[in-house]
């Protein structure tokens, strides 16, 4: 039995205990804390010199289709697991117990966590997919029952959207599976990668031509169909422009811990999936025809969504949009298709997860206290809640990629990766990637604009009378957010700590 199974089962056990009548909050916090400890222990026992997937355990589930319940973790997954457990603990601690159905509330949170952990600990693409979906319903319930604002619409939107996206993804996965030679098909990520290396994947790629009234409008190979399906599926899950509108609304309506878990951890599933199942597998000749399209879309994320973020008048929506915007950077790193970009993207996955979790935790706290996140109604809060302001300042600075925080190192690698992408020789300058990089770097300015504007509106300026007696942030949330920020700082100062963990898993020729 793999210790990873314990990692998945612990939150579920916490949820079950909570549902069975134990004090839900305590059960949840205990489970999350134990899980974090377990994860750190795993990290400590990972054999770095050996590399690759470890803690493997496998149990055939559907042998006829090459599906087995295989758990295992390499550096990248360990990084993601660490992110998941850290954010889970923070989310559970930050969560304010609602008046009704407390046990369901915590159980939902823990189920989201279990789903994310399961996905990151799966080596089998099929179970990787399945675990992600496990979190769908808890999210629906969390937003629908304990959300705020237009919660019903938001809950519907995120659920139906993600359901659609994940089924597109499922089709893509099946397509990938079917492009292996008969008899050697498998959903094991390692096997898929091996096939890709040996050239047996897409070995008999067929061209499909689509024509209407004799006019052939599309000619596309099976591999390209699969590539597009995977990218579209993962893209919807990650809120790739223009399929992003579910995210801000959902995060704005979700209770803070749900937003933390979803934006911080679960949404990373799609990008992680691309790192695992798309980048190492598709040879450039299949992928490159779509580069321009993907670049345009991700620039939509950075530039257009960035502008949309600026126009927001409420903190929660703004944070939601900002998280959508940052996905654009990660995509840029992935599309760059090279070592630097890939590492940058993976690095940003974790950095962004931590920073957005901290931000959502704080915004949730703020909403609890003030009942509003409207910039127009807030102002000058640093006067009464200085610690709050300080923490928010740190988190905001982290999120806009200030050096010293982990996000910066990630963005840096992404920019360098993208800038050097697609250049056969250093002599030909200004191909699509470089133009995209130039625009993407402007995103750094955009994110500074909205973050500072928000900080200015909420914490600076004259204190609004209504908030004269606002209470300072409670110790536990403070500790959680400070912990997240500390992690960001540590990783930001010594990015090599994290890179040593993840980069062996991200070797590209």
């Amino acid at each position: 039995m793999s210790p990873l199974l314990a990692l998945i089962l612990l939150p579920i056990a916490g949820a079950v205990f909570g549902l069975a009548g134990f004090p839900a909050r305590k059960a949840a916090i205990t489970a999350a804390a134990l899980n974090l400890v377990a994860c750190v222990a795993l990290l400590a026992s990972y054999q770095f010199d050996q590399g690759g997937f470890q803690f493997l355990s496998s149990c055939p589930a559907l042998p006829s289709l090459g599906i087995s319940f295989t758990l295992g973790a390499d550096g990248l997954s360990l990084g993601m697991l660490l992110l998941s457990t850290v954010v889970t603990l923070a989310a559970v601690c930050v969560a304010r117990a609602p008046q009704n159905n407390v046990h369901w509330f915590y159980a939902s949170l823990l189920f989201i966590s279990a789903g994310a952990i399961g996905a990151f600990a799966s080596v089998d693409a099929f179970f990787f997919y399945m675990f992600h979906e496990l979190a769908l319903i808890p999210t629906f319930l969390l937003i629908g029952i304990w959300g705020s604002g237009d919660r019903q619409a938001a809950a519907w939107k995120i659920t139906v959207y993600l359901a659609f996206g994940s089924f597109v993804l499922l089709i893509g996965l099946i397509g990938l599976y079917l492009s292996m030679p008969v008899g050697a098909r498998s959903f094991d990520m390692r096997a898929i990668a091996e096939h890709a290396q040996m050239g047996t994947l897409f070995a008999h790629d067929t061209v499909h031509s689509f024509s209407i009234f004799g006019f052939e409008y599309l000619s596309i190979t099976h591999a390209q169909v699969v590539y597009l399906l995977l990218f579209l599926g993962f893209g919807v899950l990650v809120s790739l422009f223009p399929f992003h509108t579910w995210a801000p609304q959902a995060y704005a309506s979700a209770p803070a811990p749900a937003a933390m878990l979803h934006a911080g951890v679960l949404k990373k599933f799609g990008l992680y999936g691309i790192i695992r199942l798309v980048t190492p597998i598709f040879p450039p000749h299949i992928a490159s025809p779509f580069n321009t399209l993907l670049l345009v879309l991700l620039l939509g994320n950075i530039l257009y969504v960035g502008l949309v973020t600026i126009s927001q008048r409420k903190l929660d929506l703004m944070l939601g949009y900002s998280s959508v915007m940052h996905m654009g950077y990660i995509f840029l790193g992935l599309v760059a298709w090279n070592q630097i970009g890939l590492n940058g993207a993976a690095f940003m996955l974790i950095a962004h997860g931590l920073s957005i979790a901290a931000l959502f935790a704080l915004s949730g706290e703020l909403r609890e206290r003030t009942g509003t996140l409207d910039f127009g109604e807030l102002g000058g809060l640093a006067k009464v809640v200085p610690t709050f302001g300080l923490l928010f300042g740190f988190a905001a600075m982290a999120s806009i990629g200030l050096p010293g925080f982990a996000n910066f190192a990630g963005e840096l690698m992404v920019f360098f990766g993208a800038f050097s992408a697609g250049v056969p020789s250093r002599d030909s300058f200004f191909n699509n990637f470089q133009i995209a990089t130039v625009i993407a770097v402007w995103g750094v300015v955009i994110s500074a604009v909205y973050m500072l504007r928000a900080y200015r509106r909420i914490f600076m300026g004259p204190l609004v009378d209504r908030w004269k007696s606002l209470a300072e942030i409670a110790p536990l949330p403070k500790l959680c957010v400070a912990g997240l920020i500390l992690l960001l700082l540590v990783v930001g100062f010594c990015p090599q700590l994290l890179l040593n963990l993840i980069s062996p898993a991200l070797i590209r020729p």
Binding site: S64, H132, F140, G144, Q152, W156, V160, Y161, F167, I174
Partner: protein
């Protein structure tokens, strides 16, 4: 001869006759009849795992005992057991609506007719001959005519009965006429014989053969609720007694699919025909997917919603049937049906109990169920998630296998349509979840007490949904 008479179907018939006698000649409490039926069927279900009868005791070409048939015989037995269990819980409502001289009169038949239907269904899944198909199909249909209309003081039940009667008879007409053409042109009644004759049937007969087969497809399409032959489904499902609805939507549909796959199989060896059959099935599947899923969106009545959902599932199953090119399509359809049984019965089980207390079957009657009865709510939650196709449930794996088969036979259109409609499905299934967990309880609504046996059933069905959703191998092994 004894072996022949002791075939599983006859055992079921004998059980039915025994119970009928019990019902007529003793004044036993009708519940005992139901229990006796359940126990008898469970025993027979157990028998089905014993080494089977030797091949060859059955007339050649009539009766198949292949793994599919055996699997579906168990399937029908299980469905019948669950139906009777459901009927037990439903009996209080049922009693109100049957005119009876003494308390419980008519209940006996209500418990016993499903057993005869079960025999018919078991024959049907073994049938390898058009006459056999016709006769057993009619046996099943006859049971259902009676069962659907049996709550005679309930106008909806009567109306449903008439609708089912007329449209069912219409489809029988088409079936018979289609069979006529097929038999007439090939001179063979058995599928085996037809397979043998088809390659030497003159080219010119193909059109007429397609005409006949098309009419048979129409009738089977009626059974499985394929658009455009689905019109009876919502009305009949809504009006029929709930256990009957469940039985109808599971067993009758499953049998329809088994027969459908058996019937088209011989015709697929002729290349010209195969392509046409597949494209017609594709059209049917696409229409069914779209209609079932889309029309379900605005529903507010839960039973009707389940009816549309049943159409939608027929769509996914038809995708599997239309993927006959893939070797995995048969097991995929079988597995899907297996999962469909579990989740549908779970949903109806909860509906029976909620309906018993609230007296209605609108979605709004489920408001606050999470508070009123956590067990029922959890059961229904699992059922809905499985119907919607969420991973770790058997419903998801079913869809997965179907999509896999479809991708393998390059049915890209259907696959994409499937993905889109799954998203619709999430909407309407989650509407129920929303009602249970989001919506407030109606003021002073009492908690719903659930009998222990029902709790056990809910637990068993939920567990099966999840276990087979993670480890489907046992089911799949039965199908191969």
């Amino acid at each position: 001869m004894t072996a022949f008479l002791l075939s599983p179907e006859f055992r079921v018939v004998f059980l039915g006759i025994f119970l009928l006698m019990l019902d007529s000649f003793t004044s036993a409490n009708k519940r005992y009849i139901a229990w006796a039926g359940i126990i008898g069927l469970v025993v027979l279900f157990g028998f089905s795992f014993l080494p089977g009868l030797p091949e060859g005791v059955f007339p050649a070409g009539f009766y198949l005992s292949d793994p599919t048939a055996i699997f579906f015989k168990r399937y029908m037995l299980l469905a019948t057991i669950l139906t009777i269990a459901l009927a037990l819980d439903y009996s209080r409502v049922y009693e109100e609506f049957i005119p009876a001289g003494r308390p419980g009169a008519g209940l006996g038949e209500f418990y016993i007719l499903p057993i005869f239907a079960c025999a018919g269904l078991m024959w049907l899944v073994s049938a390898a001959d058009f006459i056999m198909i016709f006769v057993s199909l009619e046996l099943v249909t006859m049971c259902f005519y009676v069962l659907v209309a049996s709550m005679r003081k309930n106008l909806l039940s009567l109306e449903a009965g008439v609708k089912y009667l007329i449209l069912g008879a219409l489809s029988t007409g088409f079936l018979v006429y289609g069979i006529t053409w097929v038999i007439g042109l090939t001179g063979q009644t058995s599928l085996e014989g037809i397979r043998g004759v088809l390659p030497i049937v003159p080219q010119g007969y193909q059109v007429a053969l397609m005409f006949g087969l098309g009419l048979v497809l129409v009738a089977l399409g009626f059974k499985v609720a394929a658009v455009p032959f689905q019109f009876w489904v919502p009305d009949v499902y809504q009006g029929a007694p709930t256990p009957v609805t469940a039985y109808l939507s599971v067993a009758s549909k499953a049998a329809g699919f088994v027969v459908l796959m058996r019937v088209i199989e011989p015709f697929l060896i002729v290349p010209g025909l195969e392509q046409k059959i597949v494209s017609v099935l594709t059209v049917l599947a696409a229409l069914t997917l779209i209609y079932g899923n889309l029309a379900a969106l605005p529903q507010i009545n839960f039973k009707r919603l389940l009816a549309y959902s049943s159409i939608a599932h027929a769509g996914y199953l038809l995708v599997g049937v239309a993927s006959v090119g893939a070797d995995a399509s048969g097991p995929a359809v079988g597995f899907y049906l297996g999962g469909y049984l579990l989740m549908t019965f779970l949903a109806f089980l909860v509906l029976v109990h909620v309906g018993r207390v609230t007296g209605g079957d609108d979605i709004s009657d489920f408001n606050g169920l999470g508070r009123r009865s956590p067990v029922l709510a959890l059961g229904l939650l699992i059922a809905m998630l499985s119907l919607a196709g969420l991973p770790f449930t058997v419903g998801f794996l079913g869809k997965f296998l179907i999509f896999e088969a479809a991708m393998q036979s390059h049915q890209y259109l259907l696959v994409v349509l499937g993905a889109v409609t799954v998203a619709c499905g999430f909407y309407y299934y989650l509407k129920v979840v929303r009602a249970m967990y989001w919506q407030p309880v109606v003021a002073d609504a009492p908690d719903i007490a659930v009998p222990a046996f029902t709790k056990l059933l809910i637990a068993l069905l939920s567990a099966a949904i999840i276990i087979f959703g993670i480890y489907p191998q046992p089911l799949l092994a039965m199908l191969r």
